[in-house]
């Protein structure tokens, strides 16, 4: 939405930061279908958003980047349902200066490797992938979020990192190269969406969730690299 | 004159400065505080103004105990040793500060301030910032600012310091007008200030009062070492007849100091004992004043001899060299003639008629 929409009905969507490109399109699509509604999407870390909802933030819809966070909200959300999945992949700076070919290379001591910290969901996933591949990672930095991992790699600071490829924003696609990790297929991360309990606009909220999970939504998500739910 | 009810009573001990002082200033009286450096003069003023907290004791003003009363409620204005002009205000606004703060309008305050600046002779500096003043100019503005406060009690710490000799007499006249009928504590190093401005003198030494009395008493017959060194003047109070001060039989021709001196008004003639010559016969010559006298006391005073004489009911002292005292055979009872040049006799209007 944009300013100057006085008189329109509003809909507030809280969405994980990695959804920022896709939900921007979906917002436009929803507003085209409902000209009297102004959608405001608030992006942020899933856990941050959940905390805000817990503290009474005026959200109508919540789209989380992992199921644990959604589950932690318990009764505060109504009928969470998955709408997308993704898996970890290796990113390296453009030109691959470290010569990384597979996840096994990440164990090399002279490579600067960054991953998510074990305290955050992508960090847990990273460990599981590494365990599945039988690789012992010795990262040079354990970052707060996928975005931070990506930032380090895109800046050329690190030689490789493990990220959800859907987190690589279009603008960064020139700066990094992606290397698939077959072992990651076993560790699938699922995105759920739900209407927030007590939303005064529950009907409209459900319509938005349906849009995301429906035909149009899935098309946009697929184009951005997300897997089906 | 010094009742505890009306006026200022101070009875304080300041331990860390070793000051223990008790003194009283009657309502409307001006008290001069004299004493060497570090004697405790500024400390006494600070205690009255509420800036120095005494270890024990109290300050009572017109029956009101000021202990614990905050400075602005004391109605006591202090001109400190350091001018401390507000750096963010112009000279004019510095002087207008007190009237403005006590409710006068901006216009009225400024014109009052301008008048005070004129009195101290720096009206042309009204628009300056304090940091663009010379030392003496700043001192004068500080005097104007204190006068503009028009307080119940005025505390002046060396108001004449840093002033050139040229403006001191004029400023003394200003102060004299301003201090009349006000309760004032005046710290000074100049006995003439005390004489012209104060009713009483208190001398401090090492944090203690060593002398306390009427100004003429202390200046003519000092008992403390410090007062003796700075004072010991001859004072003759009487009426001014246009040429001389007349006191009974004694007539003392002198030159009036700058202030207007009405004929027939009360006046005091001031001259140093050193200016008094002693003759066995009446002298003829330029000295206008010749007085027949009887020696009452002869007392050595370091390298000179102090001769005390009676001229009618007056006591007049002369200082001569020991050889002169011997030549003239000055002993108590001797009849002598005193000569004093008129130009050595300063005549001032008496402070109180």
């Amino acid at each position: 939405g944009s300013g100057g929409n006085a008189g329109k009905k509003v809909l507030v969507v809280f969405a994980a930061a990695s959804l920022s490109s896709t939900f921007g399109d979906l917002e436009a699509e929803f507003e085209a279908a409902h000209p009297d509604v102004d959608v405001t999407v608030s992006f942020g870390g899933s856990a941050d958003l959940a905390t805000q909802i817990r503290a009474g933030a005026p959200a109508d819809v919540f789209a989380s980047a992992d199921q644990e966070t959604m589950a932690s909200l318990g009764d505060l959300v109504v009928d969470p349902a998955p709408f997308a999945t993704n898996t970890l992949q290796i990113v390296v700076p453009a030109g691959n200066p470290g010569g990384v070919r597979s996840i096994a290379d990440l164990a090399e001591a002279d490579l600067d490797v960054v991953v998510c910290a074990p305290e955050v969901p992508c960090g847990r996933a990273t460990r599981e992938v590494a365990a599945a591949a039988g690789v012992e990672l010795r990262p040079d930095s354990e970052e707060q979020s996928v975005t931070d991992v990506l930032g380090k790699v895109a800046a050329g600071e690190a030689d490789a990192g493990l990220v959800y490829v859907t987190d690589v924003p279009p603008a960064s696609r020139d700066a990094v190269e992606v290397i698939a990790v077959p072992e990651a297929a076993a560790v699938v991360n699922t995105y759920p969406i739900a209407v927030v309990q007590g939303s005064p606009r529950a009907d409209r909220a459900r319509e938005f969730a349906d849009l995301v999970r429906g035909e149009a939504g899935q098309r946009v998500l697929r184009d951005a690299g997300f897997g089906p739910p | 004159m010094t009742t505890a009810r009306s006026g200022l009573v101070l009875d304080i001990v300041v331990d860390d400065r070793d000051v223990t002082v008790r003194l009283e200033v009657a309502h409307g009286e001006t008290l001069a505080l004299l004493g060497p450096n570090g004697a405790g003069k500024s400390t006494v003023l600070g205690a009255v103004a509420g800036l120095v907290a005494p270890t024990s004791g109290h300050v009572v003003l017109d029956g009101r105990d000021l202990t614990g009363v905050r400075p602005h409620r004391r109605h006591v204005a202090l001109l400190a040793q350091d001018p401390l002009l507000f750096p963010h205000l112009s000279v004019l606004d510095n002087v207008a500060f007190a009237p403005r703060s006590t409710g006068a309008g901006r216009r009225a305050s400024r014109s009052a301030a301008r008048a005070h600046l004129r009195e101290v002779g720096v009206e042309d500096l009204a628009d300056r910032r304090p940091d663009r003043l010379s030392g003496g100019q700043a001192q004068r503005v500080a005097v104007a600012r204190a006068l503009a406060a028009d307080p119940a009690v005025l505390l002046l710490d060396e108001p004449m310091a840093a002033l050139d000799v040229d403006v001191v007499p004029a400023l003394r006249q200003v102060l004299r007008r301003a201090l009349a009928d006000r309760t004032v504590l005046l710290v000074t190093h100049d006995p003439l200030d005390a004489l012209l401005l104060a009713d009483r003198v208190v001398v401090l030494e090492r944090g203690r009062v060593v002398e306390d009395g009427a100004t003429q008493e202390v200046l003519t017959r000092p008992r403390s070492a410090f007062a003796a060194r700075i004072a010991g003047l001859n004072l003759v109070a009487g009426r001014w007849d246009g040429r001389a001060v007349v006191h009974g039989d004694a007539v003392l021709t002198g030159l009036p100091s700058s202030e207007p001196l009405p004929t027939g008004g009360a006046a005091v003639a001031v001259f140093s004992p050193a200016a008094v010559s002693v003759y066995p016969q009446p002298p003829s010559g330029s000295p206008r004043n010749a007085l027949a006298a009887v020696v009452t006391d002869v007392e050595p005073l370091g390298d000179r001899v102090r001769v005390t004489t009676a001229v009618g009911s007056l006591t007049i002292t002369a200082e001569v060299t020991p050889s002169a005292a011997a030549d003239l055979e000055l002993v108590p009872g001797a009849e002598v003639h005193l000569a004093v040049k008129a130009v050595e006799v300063a005549v001032h209007a008496a402070r109180r008629p």
Partner: protein
């Protein structure tokens, strides 16, 4: 001033300036208009200026009295109190946000009371202002307390003996005397508020137009759209330079 001091001074200057230059050199000047001119960027800048201004005002209203109390009175436990007042400096902003939520949030200590009064603060523009005020207040208090202590009480004392009431002294002597320190403190507080982000997102969230300030916008776009982030940072920097440059410390006495 010894001339060798220029050596470390220039080193320090380079240390601060190089990164700024490096950042600016990344700006794609051609696209600057588009990047900065987007509706969301304009909303965020306008919100940032409004909230930072308001919180600076709040800092002045609350902080100057606090500084005066700290500088002009003596009481037991004053040292501890001063340290406590300065805490928002040291607590990471996100923790400050959590603490604010724990207090003024719906489930916080005083939040429910406020809600009964019809005040729902969290996730509103008011929450942004509160978060900014919370983190900026120590800057103002420190600057003003320092200025008060250096100025000393001598002029206030003189003013009091001239019959000025404490309020008059405060208004006509204390405030003008510490004006340079006060301005410096206000500039610092404004700058800190302008750059505030951690406490704001935590306590106020990020809703375009009502709680998404410029730093939040920058944070959100830092990797998604790095060019936009850098361009917006440049806007922030320019605003800050203008504010600091306009309200530079007054002349010292010589």
């Amino acid at each position: 001033m010894p001339r060798w001091l220029y050596v470390p001074a220039v080193l320090g200057l380079l240390f601060v300036l190089l990164p700024l230059v490096a950042m600016v050199s990344r700006v794609e000047w051609g696209d600057l208009g588009t990047l900065v001119g987007s509706a969301s960027a304009r909303d965020a800048l306008w919100l940032s200026l409004r909230t930072s201004g308001t919180s600076t005002l709040l800092c002045l209203l609350l902080g100057v009295p606090m500084a005066v109390v700290l500088a002009r009175t003596r009481f037991p436990g004053q040292g501890v109190l001063r340290a406590l007042v300065l805490l928002p400096l040291v607590v990471p902003p996100v923790v400050s946000g959590i603490a604010l939520l724990a207090t003024f949030g719906r489930r916080g200590v005083v939040g429910p009371t406020l809600e009964v009064l019809g005040l729902d603060i969290a996730f509103s523009t008011a929450a942004v202002v509160m978060a900014q005020t919370f983190v900026s207040l120590p800057f103002l208090v420190i600057s003003v307390e320092g200025a008060l202590r250096t100025a000393g009480e001598r002029y206030e004392v003189v003013a009091a003996t001239l019959g000025a009431s404490p309020t008059t002294v405060f208004r006509r002597v204390t405030l003008p005397l510490v004006l340079p320190g006060l301005l410096a403190g206000a500039v610092l507080a404004f700058a800190r508020a302008l750059g505030e982000f951690g406490a704001t997102v935590t306590f106020a969230g990020a809703l375009q137009g009502s709680t998404t300030t410029l730093p939040t916008q920058i944070y959100l776009e830092r990797f998604a759209d790095p060019d936009a982030a850098v361009a917006l940072s440049l806007v922030l920097v320019v605003v800050a330079v203008v504010v600091i440059g306009v309200a530079r410390p007054g002349r010292g006495d010589t």
